[in-house]
């Protein structure tokens, strides 16, 4: 099994803009939570049915920390690819797919989206590049030999999908609660291999199709009007304000 994984900022962090880019100074980095669900699911499938879990990541050198955690959780190997500068989702998917193609797999798992860019594109693009079918936003995965049963979240409805490997699955929240790495896991992880590759090694040249014009902090200015009085008075006042002032009812 292959797991697509990236490192992202911890969403509790305040972000600071420097020269039109997000500053990474002092930011705590984590495994993208959605990728972590995918990773946990892959490890559980390995524990139940055998096989290997290889984590594939396109990211800067600091991503190694996230990969060591993945290895400590139970992945067997990791691949870290230097991403092309200014690559977009199209570029990343081409790079990741090339790395996947070089390794045998039955299943590819990845997060539904990343909490920093939040595009929800890359994993599905990879499925297309690999020429394999996909099921997105999985909340449950069961494997029985070569056949796979996936429950997917479709805005509240649950769709039960059956498919055969090879298959790519993207993880929705709740797919599999990630384990904490154990101490023996952490020790073993130090010896597990992290291969480094470049897009050139993989024969990929995929210049971005889109580019960023600018990046700004979100305008979060709201003047809060705290109401006062008895509960009944506040309720009356609020309804009046929502109609007359905010004009939303």
């Amino acid at each position: 099994m292959l797991v697509l994984l990236k490192q992202t900022f911890d969403t509790d962090t305040k972000i600071v803009l420097k020269d039109g880019r997000i500053s990474e100074d002092g930011i705590t980095m984590v495994i993208n939570p959605y990728d972590e669900y995918a990773l946990e699911q892959a490890i559980r499938l390995k524990e139940a049915g055998g096989g290997t879990v290889i984590v594939v990541c396109a990211g800067p050198a600091r991503s190694e920390e996230a990969l060591r955690k993945a290895l400590a959780m139970g992945a067997d190997e990791a691949v870290l690819i230097d991403p092309p500068a200014d690559g977009d989702e199209y570029t990343l998917a081409r790079v990741l797919a090339a790395a996947c193609k070089a390794r045998p797999f039955d299943l590819v798992l990845g997060g539904n989206l990343s909490v920093d860019n939040g595009a929800s594109q890359v994993a599905i693009r990879v499925a297309h590049e690999l020429g394999i079918p996909y099921v997105g936003a999985a909340t449950k995965v069961e494997v029985n030999g070569g056949s796979v049963r996936v429950e997917r979240d479709a805005e509240g409805d649950v769709e039960v999908i059956t498919a055969a490997a090879p298959l790519l699955i993207t993880a929705q929240q709740g797919l599999a609660e990630p384990r904490l790495p154990s101490l023996p896991g952490i020790m073993k992880a130090k010896k597990k291999p992290i291969a480094r590759q470049t897009p050139a090694d993989l024969g990929v040249d995929a210049p971005a199709r889109t580019e960023v014009v600018d990046l700004k902090a979100a305008d979060s200015s709201r003047q809060t009007k705290m109401l006062a009085g008895s509960a009944a008075e506040q309720a009356t006042q609020l309804v009046h304000l929502l109609r007359e002032e905010a004009k939303v009812v």
């Binding site: 099921v135 805005e155 769709e159 305008d219």
Partner: protein, 325 residues
């Protein structure tokens, strides 16, 4: 520079989703005089084509076929292939819905195109089309342009303006058939379990009433549901409420739940953790009701009531009933 723009118009529960009309508006802007077409894949409600034409679509393409009854990427992409053979698109727009998110990246990959998803604004200035989208859990905003290739974008519901309906607009309706056997699909929809929570679609709702840990139990949602009923609102929840078992995860608003952009968001007993705020921070007006005056939710609220939601919410329901009677 004029563009031919295709809108993939989504139907849900037998009705055209509002974001489809918002997409027609965006398409007309993007087209700059070029053609705007809409495609419906699978069952189309009888008035859908006329709604799309009244909104500005010059052409509506309906694709029918047994393989389209339930959504699968494979069948829908095959249907899009047929549509794009009929209508040469420079840009393809989707709603940023569960289906849009699932389908757009695959289409973009197929077209070797870039894609900008979860778009909240579109500016067109001559040849330049700039797509705005939130990043970093809504803490920052970025604007992007396409350097080359087909434009593919998904639009966040309730953000781009819906165009005025003009019933005098004329348009053509084309019917295509997708001759694909359900049995040949590589992913098969074995079952669709419709969750009992019927009612207003959370992601497209104009008003949302949401409950957090302060709701204290599944029953605790009842006053919120009553208020939602009076307002025609959808009911949402914080992750804490879902984790505690007070409601289904499909109600969750937040970073790992749904993103909502209603005109009015009423947060009841929600503390306002960053992850929750990420899902509702672009609500036009936010009301917060919480016992704790220090709750972070008040920082992102336009109006705040410090109080017991079990006291305040029923009073609000009463007042709204009077107002809207």
């Amino acid at each position: 520079m004029s563009r031919n723009v295709l809108v993939v118009a989504e139907v849900r529960s037998g009705a055209l989703r509002p974001v489809a009309l918002e997409a027609i508006g965006a398409a007309s802007l993007l087209a700059q005089g070029g053609s705007v077409a809409a495609a419906i894949l699978g069952d189309a409600p009888t008035d859908a084509a006329s709604q799309l034409i009244a909104a500005g679509a010059g052409q509506v393409i309906l694709v029918a076929g047994e393989s389209l009854t339930d959504y699968t990427p494979e069948a829908y992409l095959a249907a899009l292939d047929k549509v794009l053979a009929e209508f040469k698109a420079d840009a393809v727009l989707f709603g940023h819905t569960a289906t849009g998110r699932d389908l757009a990246p695959a289409l973009a990959a197929k077209l070797e195109a870039g894609a900008v998803t979860d778009v909240t604004a579109l500016e067109v200035d001559g040849d330049r089309a700039v797509f705005t989208r939130p990043i970093y859990a809504g803490k920052a905003v970025t604007r992007r342009v396409f350097k080359q290739g087909t434009i593919v974008a998904t639009l966040r519901p309730n953000n781009l303006p819906a165009p005025a309906q003009d019933a005098t607009r004329q348009g053509e309706v084309k019917r295509l058939n997708l001759d694909l056997a359900k049995t040949s699909l590589r992913t098969v929809v074995a079952e669709v379990i419709r969750k009992a929570a019927a009612g207003v679609d959370l992601t497209a709702a104009k008003v949302v009433v949401a409950g957090g840990r302060g709701v204290k139990s599944a029953d605790g949602f009842k006053p919120l549901q009553e208020l939602a009923g009076v307002l025609g609102a959808a009911v949402g929840a914080s992750r804490a409420a879902c984790d505690a078992g007070y409601c289904d995860y499909s109600w969750q608003v937040g970073q790992t739940g749904k993103t909502v952009t209603p005109d009015l968001y009423i947060a009841c007993g929600i503390s306002g953790a960053i992850q929750h705020v990420a899902g509702m921070s672009s609500s036009k007006v936010v009301v917060a009701i919480n016992k704790d005056p220090e709750a972070p939710i008040f920082k992102v609220a336009d109006y705040g009531i410090v109080g017991d939601l079990f006291e305040v919410v029923p009073l609000l329901t009463q007042e709204f009933k009077k107002l809207l009677a």
